[in-house]
C-alpha cells in the first residue's frame, strides 16, 4: 500500500511551508516518505507542484501516478488529472472551478472561503492539508503540534493555521471518509525529515566547517541558508561574497589561515571560480567546493535538474593538479560523504568537489538518524617535532604531501604560499628542474587519493545479466528500477558511483566482463560518466539512457528503456 499525493498551484501560494509541516508530521508518525518539488524560476504565478509519496520502508523516489490531487487552481487539475488513478480523488475549491464529468472523484472544499474565515487567503493550502488528512485517515493533532512549534513567537499565526486546518478537515469529513490505506508504520526508530541542502549544511557544520563564502545561486542557496541559521550559536561564519570569484578566494584565505572552509554554487557561478580552483591546486590549499548542478548552458533552466557538469568539474581550472570529485547519491550517504570531502581536502591539501543537483538538493526524505561519531575531524597538521626548521611549505615528500603548519602557529616560522611555480620554501622559481620536481610532487598525491576512493555501490542480483550504472542523485531511482526489473524476472543489478575521481575501477572490470548488457543512466545529453569510464578503464558500456529535459528520471522510464533495448 502506498499513497501518492500531488499538490499544485501558483508560485506564492505558500505550498512549501505547509507541505514541509505535513511531511514532518507523517515522519513523526513513523511513515516512510519522499517529497519532491517542481517549481518555476519565478516568485509569483506560474505552475509549481510538489509530489509526496508515502510508501513502505523508506521510498527512494516519487512516481507519476497520483492518488490524491490537491488542485489549488484549475491549471493543476488540467495538467495532472490524466495521471490520477481510477480510484483517485481531487481536493479542489468549487468556487474556483468545477470538474465536469469527474464529479465523483471530487472532494469539494471551499479552500478560499474557509481560509479567509480562519484569518487569510494565504492559508488555503492549510485548509487543503486538513482535507488531505481526512482522505488518509489521519487526525490533525500532529500537524497542529508542528504548527505550534514552527510559529512559536509569531503571534496568532499558529492559531489561525490550526483553525484553517480544522476547517478543511471538518469540511472534507462531511462529504467523505478515508479512501486510501496508508502503508504500515516503520518500526525501526526515529527518522529525520530533511532535504539535500540541509543534509549538506548539517554535514559541513558537523565536519567543523567554520567558513562558508558563497554567492546565492539555485539550487545551492539552501546550504547558505542552513549554515547562516546556525550562526552565531555555532562557530561558523557565512559570508555572502560580492561574486563567486571573491567567494572561492575568501574561502582559500580562510583555509590557508587554518579553518575548514567551503564554498557552494551552481554551474554558472562555478564558471567564475575556475581560476580559484587552479589556485587551490597550485598553492595546495584544502578546499571543499559544493556544486549543485542545474541545466545549462548559461542560465539554462534555473530551478531544474541535470548532471551535465561532471566533465566541467573534472577539467575545471587551468593547468594540471590533483583533485577529488565525490557526489551526493542519497540523503543517507551524503552526510558522511561530505565529511569525507573535508577529510580528503585536509589530508591531500587540494580542492575536493562535492557534486549535488537540484533533484537531490530540493528533495526531502525520511532518513534514519545520523551517527555523528563516524565523522572525522583530522586536520593532518604537522606536529612541531615533525617538520624541519626553517619551515618549508612545499617540502618534497614521497607521498607528495608536505607537512603543513598554520601561519602564526609557531614563533619564528612563516608560511609562504604562491600561485607562481615555486620552490620548497614557496618562493617564485622558473628553472626547469624545480618545475618538474614540483609538478611530480603535486601529481603524486593522486596515488594516495585513488586508494581512498570507494568502489561504486552494488545493489540487486549478485550475478546480474543486466547492469545499470549511474552516479549522483539517480541512486534511488535506479535502485527502484532494478527492483522492478528483478520483479519481472530480469536478473539485474545497479552499480552506482558516489566517488568519481580518481575513478574507482575494480568493480567495473569484474562486472562488465560478466554481464550481457550494460546501461549508463545519466541526467545529461553526452553520457559523461559513460565516456569517463571508457577513457579511464578502456571498457565500453552497451547503451546510454540519457535524460536532459530538466526533470529527474522516473523508475518506469528506466524500466521501459531497458526492456526496449534488451
Amino acid at each position: 500500500m502506498e499513497i501518492n499525493v500531488l499538490i499544485g498551484g501558483a508560485a506564492g501560494q505558500g505550498m512549501e511551508t505547509i507541505m514541509n509541516l505535513l511531511g514532518k508530521a507523517l515522519v513523526r508518525e513513523d511513515f516512510g516518505l519522499i517529497y519532491t518539488k517542481d517549481y518555476m524560476s519565478r516568485v509569483r504565478g506560474g505552475h509549481n507542484f510538489s509530489r509526496l509519496r508515502i510508501a513502505p520502508g523508506q521510498p527512494w523516489t516519487t512516481v507519476e501516478s497520483i492518488d490524491v490531487l490537491v488542485a489549488l487552481n484549475e491549471e493543476t487539475y488540467r495538467k495532472h488529472s490524466q495521471n490520477l488513478v481510477p480510484s483517485g480523488r481531487v481536493i479542489y475549491d468549487p468556487e474556483l472551478f468545477s470538474l465536469p464529468g469527474d464529479e465523483s472523484r471530487g472532494v469539494p472544499v471551499e479552500l478560499k472561503k474557509l481560509a479567509e474565515e480562519a484569518g487569510g487567503r494565504v492559508m488555503a493550502n492549510t485548509v487543503a492539508v486538513g482535507a488531505l488528512l481526512v482522505l488518509m485517515g489521519l487526525e490533525t493533532s500532529t500537524v497542529e503540534e508542528l504548527l505550534k512549534d514552527t510559529f512559536a513567537g509569531k503571534e496568532g499565526v499558529a492559531e489561525k493555521n490550526i483553525k484553517a486546518l480544522k476547517a478543511g478537515y471538518d469540511s472534507a469529513a462531511r462529504t467523505c471518509s478515508a479512501c486510501f490505506e496508508l502503508p504500515a508504520k516503520n518500526q525501526d526508530g526515529k527518522k529525520l525529515f530533511i532535504d539535500g541542502n540541509q543534509v549538506v549544511g548539517m554535514a559541513a557544520l558537523a565536519s567543523g566547517c567554520r567558513f562558508l563564502s558563497a554567492y546565492p545561486m539555485t539550487p545551492a542557496t539552501g546550504i547558505m541558508n542552513y549554515l547562516a541559521s546556525k550562526s552565531p550559536d555555532y562557530p561558523v561564519i557565512v559570508e555572502q561574497a560580492e561574486d563567486e570569484i571573491a567567494a572561492i578566494n575568501m574561502a582559500l584565505g580562510a583555509a590557508y589561515a587554518g579553518v575548514r572552509a567551503m564554498t557552494c554554487t551552481s554551474g554558472g557561478g562555478f564558471s567564475l571560480m575556475a581560476e580559484g580552483v587552479s589556485l587551490a591546486g597550485m598553492t595546495e590549499t584544502p578546499l571543499v567546493i559544493v556544486v549543485g548542478m542545474r541545466p545549462g548552458p548559461a542560465t539554462g533552466l534555473p530551478t531544474r535538474t541535470e548532471q551535465a557538469d561532471l566533465e566541467f568539474i573534472l577539467h575545471s581550472g587551468h593547468g594540471e593538479f590533483p583533485r577529488a570529485v565525490l557526489s551526493a547519491t542519497s540523503h543517507d550517504d551524503a552526510f558522511y560523504r561530505l565529511n569525507k570531502a573535508f577529510e580528503l581536502a585536509d589530508r591531500y591539501q587540494t580542492p575536493v568537489f562535492f557534486l549535488t543537483d537540484q533533484n537531490f538538493a530540493d528533495t526531502h526524505r525520511s532518513v534514519g538518524l545520523y551517527d555523528f561519531s563516524r565523522l572525522g575531524y583530522n586536520r593532518f597538521l604537522a606536529a612541531e617535532s615533525n617538520f624541519e626548521k626553517p619551515y618549508k611549505r612545499y617540502r618534497i615528500t614521497e607521498s607528495g604531501i608536505s607537512p603543513r603548519i598554520l601561519p602564526g602557529q609557531y614563533e619564528g616560522e612563516t608560511v609562504l604560499i604562491d600561485s607562481d611555480e615555486h620552490d620548497e620554501k614557496g618562493n617564485i622559481i622558473e628553472d626547469a628542474s624545480t618545475r618538474r620536481t614540483m609538478v611530480d610532487k603535486r601529481m603524486r598525491k593522486l596515488n594516495g587519493m585513488a586508494e581512498e576512493m570507494d568502489e561504486p555501490d552494488l545493489y540487486g542480483d549478485p550475478h546480474p545479466e543486466v547492469l545499470l550504472i549511474g552516479w549522483g542523485s539517480t541512486y534511488g531511482v535506479i535502485r527502484e528500477a532494478v527492483d522492478a526489473l528483478i520483479a519481472r524476472g530480469i536478473k539485474s543489478a545497479m552499480l552506482h558511483f558516489s566517488d568519481l575521481w580518481p575513478l574507482p575501477q575494480k568493480r567495473l572490470h569484474s562486472l562488465l566482463a560478466e554481464v550481457k548488457h550494460s546501461f549508463c543512466i545519466e541526467n545529461n545529453a553526452g553520457g559523461q560518466l559513460s565516456k569517463l569510464i571508457r577513457r579511464e578503464s578502456g571498457l565500453s558500456i552497451n547503451s546510454n539512457i540519457l535524460k536532459y529535459d530538466g526533470r529527474p528520471f522516473l523508475p518506469d522510464e528506466i524500466v521501459k528503456e531497458v526492456q526496449n533495448d534488451l
Binding site: E239, N249, L252, A255, G258, I417, S419, D420, I428
Partner: protein
Amino acid sequence: MTCKAEDYMTGETAWCPGCGNYDIREALAGALAELGLPPHQVLLVSGIGQAAKIPHYIKANGFNGLHGRALPPAVGAKVANKDLTVIVESGDGDSYGEGGNHFMHNIRRNPDLAHLVHDNQVYGLTKGQASPTSEPGMKTGVQVEGVTVPALNPLSLALVMGAGFVARCFSGEKDHLKATMKAAINFPGYALVDILQPCVSFNKVNTHGWYKNRVYFPEVEAPQDWAKAMDLSRQWGDQIPLGIFYNKPHQTFGESRAVLKGEPLSNRPFNPEELSSLQNDFL
C-alpha cells in the same frame, strides 16, 4: 622577540634598479619593526604584478594569490585567525582594475586590514599598458592614441564608499610612508594607503622627479572632516597632497559578527559528536 628592519628583508628582488618598490619595501620593514610585530604574526597577501612580489621579499607569512584577488583571501584569513596582522599589498592594476569589485565591496565590509597599493599609474609586469590610474593622453603600445578615459580616483572612491582610513603617500617620502603604514596597520578596519611610485621602465610621464616636484604636505590636524578629505583626494596636477586625509573608525567586519568574539576560529577545538543535537531540527 624584537626585530630590526633588516630582519624583515629577505630574498633577491626582481625589480628594476630605481623602482619605487624598493623604498616601499624598506618603509614596510621599518614599520613592522617599529610596531614590534614578529614575522610569524604578520600575513602579507598580494595578487599578481611587480608590487605583488612583496611577500617574497619581506619575511612574514605570505599568500601570493591571483591577479586582482588579493583582498578576498585576506578577508578569509582574518576571519579564520584574527590574531594575524593582515596587510594587503598589490599594484594599481591589481587593486583597482582586475580587483575593482573587491575594492568597493571590502570598503563596505570593513575588514581589519591595511591595503597598501603601489600606484605607479602603469602596468609593469605586462610591460607598459595603461592602468586604471594612468593619466589621459599617456601613449602605450596598446593605448596607441593615448589613454582616452579619465583616471580612476581611488581615494575619492574609497571616501564615497565610506572607508574609515584614506591616505596618500609617495615612495620618495619614505619616513612619511613608514609612519602612514604604521597608522594604517594600527587602524581598526579597512585602511587604504595609495602609494605613488615611479615606474622607471614604463611610465615616462609620472617619473620620480614629476612626483617630487608636485607632492606637498597640507595641514590636516584632525582628519575626520569628510568634505575636506574629499577635497584633498581630488587635488591632482601641479599640487598633489600627501597625508592621512581621513581617519575615523567605525564597526569592523570582525566586530559585527558575534561568532568572532573570543578565541580565533582557527584555534578552537572541535568534536563532531558534540553536534549530534543538530538533528533535532528535523525530527
